[in-house]
């Protein structure tokens, strides 16, 4: 079911009313109802994939149970000096060795030799336990969860890509391979819910959260319909506890949610879907287009992808608020960023922080040598690109962003702009404006790879873009001028509301009600009038 569909227009109020008036008193019934509504929402696309999400939930629920409850021994550090050795397990019976006190003073002799030999014995024992514990104890359940979830992704999303790439490579080497691809349908939202469940088992393994024994709450958490198919990718530590909280209807929160939904719909329906028309023309046939047309196409795509994805996130977060749930902010006005590092702190925050916490930091983050850090940065950007789709264009997009980011990191400038631009001023300085425009420009160039069906098209697009016809007046329909106006209005509204969670959160609050409702009326009418036939969200394919 799409957020911008008539089905959802009926689904949401019905679920909302039943949730608050029928099921809100009993926690279990409420969660069960949310689970049923979420499965209906997801099954509307293709009921066959409900089994997949149920299986993924079941595996991670089971793994969570096996990982056991958080105890005071979690996160203990292995140290031969502090004499506490942990098998990294909460449940000693799962471990290859029992937790025990090893102290140099525990031996019969106090001389150095004895102490040294004692230490080496301890280190040897730790090494053995580390290797053994990969497939035993708590690590086993983490490994099962990782293998299962990444296996799902590998099969449904990347299988054909690897087969095709291998075939291309073998052909390139002069052989004629006879390898067939499979006709695999990508289940909607698989990249999102697998990452969400992975965060649960990893956090449970790390002892950062208490695995739940309530299967209904857990299944409802994995499939929570507002953010099921395109995020935000919620951490269990934030979202899961909310399924155990009693909730009472909060009018202010619900109105805030309604405003956020309206803004999300405006971003999706008015900005993204209408930009898409011109973007498709530009990208379908770049070789026969004027450079000036391609420039508009590329800029429009920047707004399409932002409007589409941030629009979805706003609708998701707003819908969550209607049901009393707080979801994390996923976009924080990324196109007002002054450098690429700031852009990545503001763009798809739930994914960026996921990769930071579960990939970048485990790899060593920025703790090792400069070159190790660069390697880690490169890995995280390439993997992030690959997460978006099984295509070399996404990997190239990730690589370009890494190349743009690395100089900032190298010179220690990647954390210069932590607040929003012109925080206490109405307008940016000329310097800031230049920084914002430059960041937007390089981001837009990188998006060309993201949008192109293949690297060759991206190359054609770029070479045509930097041709002499950039100075020629673009050939545009009257509608394009209309959409340029909409994009300008959108930028102005975003700028005005850049200090809030979303642009219109507190807009015109200090003005008379007529002006505020006039703004809402204008947005509602724009959504109705400029809606195209139900257009899918771009990120559904990821």
């Amino acid at each position: 079911m799409l957020f911008n569909s008539y089905e959802y227009l009926i689904f949401l109020p019905v679920v909302f009313l039943l949730y608050w008036y029928v099921f809100s008193k009993n926690l279990k019934a409420r969660n069960l109802f949310l689970l049923a509504a979420s499965y209906l929402f997801y099954g509307w696309w293709d009921w066959r994939f409900l089994g997949l999400i149920a299986l993924s939930s079941a595996v991670d629920y089971w793994c969570g149970l096996q990982l056991g409850p958080v105890t005071s021994s979690d996160n203990r550090v292995i140290s031969t000096d502090s004499v506490v050795i942990s098998t990294n397990g909460r449940n000693p019976k799962d471990s290859s060795i029992k937790e025990k006190e090893i102290s140099p003073s525990a031996g019969s002799s106090r001389n150095d030799l004895n102490a040294k030999s004692f230490r080496s014995a301890a280190v040897e024992e730790i090494s053995k336990s580390k290797i053994f514990s990969l497939f035993n104890g708590r690590k086993l359940y983490l490994t099962i969860s990782l293998l299962f979830n990444l296996g799902l992704l590998a099969f449904f999303k990347y299988f054909n890509f690897f087969i095709e790439s291998t075939t291309d490579l073998i052909s390139f080497l002069g052989f004629q391979p006879n390898i067939h691809t499979l006709n695999i349908i990508l289940p909607v939202g698989i990249s999102f819910y697998t990452f969400q469940t992975l965060s649960y088992t990893i956090d449970a393994y790390r002892g950062k959260l208490e695995p739940t024994k309530d299967p209904i709450a857990f299944f409802a958490y994995v499939s929570f319909f507002p953010q099921l198919v395109a995020g935000p990718i919620e951490r269990a530590s934030n979202l899961l506890p909310q399924f155990f909280q009693k909730k009472s209807f909060d009018y202010t929160m619900a109105m805030d949610g309604m405003r956020q939904i309206l803004w999300g719909l405006f971003m999706k329906v008015v900005i993204a879907d209408n930009c898409a028309v011109f973007v498709n023309q530009a990208f379908n046939n770049p070789e026969s287009q004027l450079a000036s047309n391609l420039l508009i196409g590329a800029v429009f795509f920047s707004f399409q992808i932002y409007g589409d994805f941030a629009g979805y996130s706003n609708i998701a977060i707003g819908t969550g608020k209607l049901f009393g749930f707080h979801l994390m902010q996923n976009f924080a006005f990324p196109y007002f960023s002054r450098d690429i590092a700031e852009f990545w702190r503001r763009w798809h925050i739930s994914l960026s922080t996921w990769f930071r916490d579960y990939l970048y930091i485990p790899l060593g983050g920025s703790k090792g040598s400069k070159f190790q850090s660069l390697r880690n940065i490169l890995i995280i950007f390439l993997v992030s690109g690959f997460w978006h789709g099984a295509n070399w264009t996404f990997i190239a997009w990730g690589g370009i962003n890494a190349v743009l980011f690395i100089p900032l990191f190298w010179f220690g400038k990647n954390r210069v702009h932590l607040g929003i631009v012109a925080q206490n001023r109405a307008f940016p300085t000329f310097y800031e404006l230049g920084q914002v425009l430059l960041t937007f420009s390089v981001t837009t160039l990188a998006w060309i790879f993201f949008r192109s069906p293949d690297l060759s098209t991206a190359g054609t697009y770029l070479s045509q873009l930097f041709s002499a016809s950039i100075l020629t007046k673009p050939q545009m329909d009257i509608r394009v001028y209309l959409f340029i106006c909409w994009v300008l209005i959108f930028i102005i509204l975003e700028w005005m509301g850049r200090r809030e969670e979303y642009a219109i959160q507190k807009m015109a609050f200090s003005k008379p009600a007529l002006i505020r409702y006039g703004l809402y009326y204008g947005l509602v009418m724009a959504v109705f009038l400029f809606a195209r036939k139900e257009q899918e969200f771009i990120y559904f394919q990821f």
């Binding site: 509608r479 209309l482 409702y517 009418m525 109705f528 009038l529 400029f530």
Partner: protein, 303 residues
């Protein structure tokens, strides 16, 4: 708050009423009142027969206003959906009235594996099957589900001097006459397009049965004229391969129901086509005049 809820809907309602046939090529056919006399067929008839010309010249014979209720080969091939829609559009009328049914091989063919499998007919998933109320203004079900553009285009296209328009009589006017080069280019595209179709389409006995049923239904209510629209010889050559004995089948129906069949498919070099298939505006006028003359002559001979 309640005013705020109503205001956008009221505004939208007013905007819907502004649609005058410039934003959507079919919508007006579902908002005009029920009609007494109809032209049926696909896009060739929708663009090629101008009811107002025929009404004017047949005013002595028929008082019932003629309305062009033709759509496209995807939406209005002969079948249960189109017949039902025709029944819904037809007004009760006791006076003398007439129906022009245009026929071609595509309208009694299908591109599905089993061309007689009713459940798989292409139009089952199209507006012709979905819209039961065909005379409400505004037609909300159509607007919500089938309107081909964004609603702002109602205002935009109305303000533009649009060359394509669905007229009040159901005739779809498409632009001014174009240059010969453009026509030739479009015709070549159509030839490629229809050649590709040739491999997919085959005669559907079930559609033929529904054509028969449609003729029978309308014959009970008025005079029926079977017409095959003119088309370029390049396209005709393709059509002749879709249903090889098409002419014979239509002549059989003509004899069965005792209705005339006017075949213009061989009228070579008489009309100009935008794409080899659809008459241009001037030729549509010309053809409508020729057709009305022929109907008049037929009626004179009959009397």
């Amino acid at each position: 708050m309640s005013i705020f809820s109503i205001l956008p809907l009221a505004s939208l309602y007013l905007i819907f009423l502004l649609e005058n046939g410039t934003a959507d090529p079919f919508y007006q056919r579902f908002v005009t009142p029920k009609q007494k006399a109809l032209i049926l067929g696909n896009s060739k008839a929708a663009q090629g027969i101008i009811p107002s010309i025929i009404i004017e010249q047949l005013a002595d014979v028929y008082q019932a206003n003629l309305y062009n209720y033709s759509f496209t080969v995807y939406n209005s091939p002969f079948g249960p959906a189109y017949l039902e829609s025709v029944k819904n559009k037809l007004a009760e009328y006791d006076g003398k009235r007439y129906f022009i049914i245009t026929v071609d091989p595509w309208s009694i063919s299908s591109d599905i594996n089993d061309p007689n499998n009713l459940d798989k007919f292409e139009e089952n998933d199209r507006f012709i099957s979905d819209i039961n109320d065909v005379s409400s203004n505004p037609n909300v079900p159509y607007l919500l589900k089938w309107f081909s553009k964004s609603y702002y285009e109602i205002i935009l296209m109305r303000s533009k001097n649009n060359l394509s328009k669905l007229n009040e009589d159901g005739w779809f006017m498409t632009g001014e006459n174009v240059s010969k080069n453009v026509m030739d280019h479009q015709r070549k595209l159509m030839v490629d397009y229809y050649t590709d179709y040739l491999n997919k389409y085959s005669l559907s006995e079930l559609r033929l049965k529904y054509l028969k049923e449609t003729i029978g239904f309308l014959k009970e209510r008025g005079d029926v004229y079977l017409v095959r629209m003119p088309l370029h010889t390049d396209i005709l050559k393709i059509e002749e391969q879709v249903v090889i004995d098409f002419d014979q089948k239509i002549h059989e129906l003509s004899n069965l129901f005792d209705v005339p069949f006017f075949d213009y498919s061989k009228s070579v070099n008489v009309f100009e086509f935008k794409d080899g298939l659809h008459l241009d505006k001037k030729s549509a006028e010309n053809f409508s005049n020729q057709l009305v003359e022929r109907i008049s002559r037929f009626e004179e001979l009959k009397n």
